[in-house]
Symmetry: C2
Subunit: 360 residues, 2 copies
């Protein structure tokens, strides 16, 4: 029996990936030179499709890394001289903070209670913090910020750099990226691709910051520092030999999403989200982890389980439906269910029916 | 017409990759969690197959990065406090040296004349250099060191760390890795895989060095520093979400190579190398770039062209045979031909026939 993955990443492949993979092999995509015109056309297509899909404002550069985790380190090297400030809503926003500390820089944080987000209106951020980090959708807890939160931070901090983690949320939810200076994601979440590629987008202010650090004699890394990435990206190349196959697949999937229409994807996301909320409300085994409805993730439903989560996970696994356990300390007491663009309404309906008919 | 790639990486996929890719999709490899037992089994298999294939000595750790380029930076962060020494035979060994300088450390070098390697017996390496870097096979020039060179350096420098670049050479040529402390390669060369994965192997001395830097309060990076990589590798995991698909494919291809027998692969490499040498000798358009026969790469034949290399490349391209141009400044005046395990004797014979019958 072929399984259906509702795990919050890696997850089910986007339903067109297999076909694109076949074409990639036919066209010899993995064998071409990363310095060839053919690869430049692939890079260009992927960047253009992403610009359209995510409505990326003019003047932002799109570059590729190997993961969102790598972007954390690159931000630390290129955009922070002494101090950053982190909104911490769970394990992943905290990991970013740790990365900055590992680089020998000061990383302040405001930590939310488990299952909630930091109230941006009450938080005090020192003027000395050069970069403010927000994780839109905390994949570990299912707690999500809002566009309003981003706008409020931008209004209060015009000069600071704002870095936005949109792993496991974009393109399923509309975000106005013009209020942040840099954002990033990995492709094994909402884009339904094999893991091994990160997308990093930043504006001119970020380039200037990296150059100012360089001019001060501060190391900003090597092959993947911002000046090197930009120098190559303007000719649709990368400094190293990249994961070309994934860059190709990302372009094709973004193209498919553009053809379908991002509004359609977002409407379906809302419908499936409502269905999952209903499922958590109705199931005798489940209750919401994130109390405030406005902060419940549209793409990552997280529920507390009345019994060991393994019993629920195994019962669904026997039916070919794979859901995620809770993250870290919540492994046995929570489940996580992804609502990504590849998950059809029918599949989420089926999952919901199966959960509601469980009798363990 | 499907093309055959003799480019020195990315190159022709190993002939079993397409089949393994189909199986990976069937088994849901890109969708499983990188924290699952299924992925741990994949990691373990890949490490074990590599240990057998490359005869990796006991006590060496195998970890995964996104490229060999990334390994350069990780070596710079983890294994060098102040100073390294680099044997530079071409563009790639020089790029490594640049990476170390970009990290704000001192990188000494001895540069060979173009198309040759540094004579290890005459070079003076200061005792202050903590790490000595050698690139076995310089993909840009086709100049290759020998096992004897490695042994000579080891004998003279027992305490220093020796780092060996085996990109585009392993497993096609036998190397006794016990004389170096760390070595690394990317998978789009001899392993015939899509780009986007690096393999980094190091011994206990490297772990101790990284820990000693950390204890001195020196930043050794974050998620991909040696202690983090080791901590995860002992449970067959990675710190970040890795290129799982490529780790799976690498294990399968290494398994295929073990079944075929590495000796068989090396014998075929020698035969095809001799054939390419003969082709360069006989062609009216070609002459050897690397003068000393012992330093001519077994896997990357590089020839000077009497006419613009583009004319030769285009003529072969029309027959579906893709070879590489010269690297950098040699783009128009040289060609490069890969002799990797996926290239069969028959394919190299066909390429040779076509080159020798060219009339431009």
């Amino acid at each position: 029996m072929k399984k259906l993955y509702f795990t919050p990443g890696p997850s089910q492949l986007y339903f067109t990936v297999e076909e694109h993979l076949k074409n990639a092999l036919k066209e010899g995509v993995p064998s071409i030179s990363h310095r060839s015109k053919d690869f430049q056309a692939i890079y260009s297509n992927t960047a253009e499709q992403l610009k359209e899909l995510l409505n990326i404002p003019e003047g932002y550069h799109i570059v590729f890394t190997s993961s969102a985790t790598e972007v954390w380190e690159r931000i630390g090297q290129n955009l922070i001289e002494r101090e950053s400030f982190h909104f911490v809503n769970g394990a992943f926003s905290e990991k970013f903070q740790n990365v900055i500390e590992n680089l020998g820089k000061s990383a302040l944080k405001k930590q939310a209670d488990e299952g909630s987000v930091v109230d941006v209106e009450t938080v005090l951020i020192p003027e000395s913090s050069e970069l403010i980090s927000i994780t839109y959708n905390e994949t570990s807890t299912g707690a999500s910020h809002t566009q309003n939160d981003l706008s409020l931070i931008r209004e209060s901090f015009e000069d600071q750099l704002i870095a936005l983690d949109v792993v496991s949320i974009t393109p399923s939810v509309e975000i106005d990226f013009s209020v942040v200076d840099t954002f990033y994601f990995s492709v094994q979440k909402c884009f339904g691709l094999p893991a091994g590629l990160g997308v990093w987008v930043f504006n001119e202010k970020c380039i200037q910051k990296a150059e100012s650090l360089l001019n001060k004699g501060i190391s900003i890394g090597s092959y993947h520092c911002i000046p090197e990435l930009v120098k190559k990206s303007v000719v649709n190349q990368t400094p190293d030999t990249p994961n070309m196959l994934n860059i190709y697949l990302l372009g094709k999937v973004a193209e498919d999403m553009n053809k379908k229409g991002v509004q359609q994807i977002r409407q379906e996301t809302n419908y499936k989200h409502a269905l999952l909320q209903h499922t958590i409300n109705e199931s005798k085994y489940l209750s919401h982890f994130v109390e405030k409805e406005i902060n419940r993730s549209k793409t990552t439903a997280v529920a507390i389980t009345t019994i060991d989560s393994k019993l629920l996970i195994d019962a669904l696994n026997k039916k070919g439906l794979v859901i995620g356990s809770g993250y870290g300390n919540f492994k046995a007491s929570q489940i996580r269910i992804a609502n990504f663009p590849t998950h059809s309404k029918e599949q989420i309906e089926m999952l919901s029916d199966q959960i509601l008919s469980l009798n363990i």
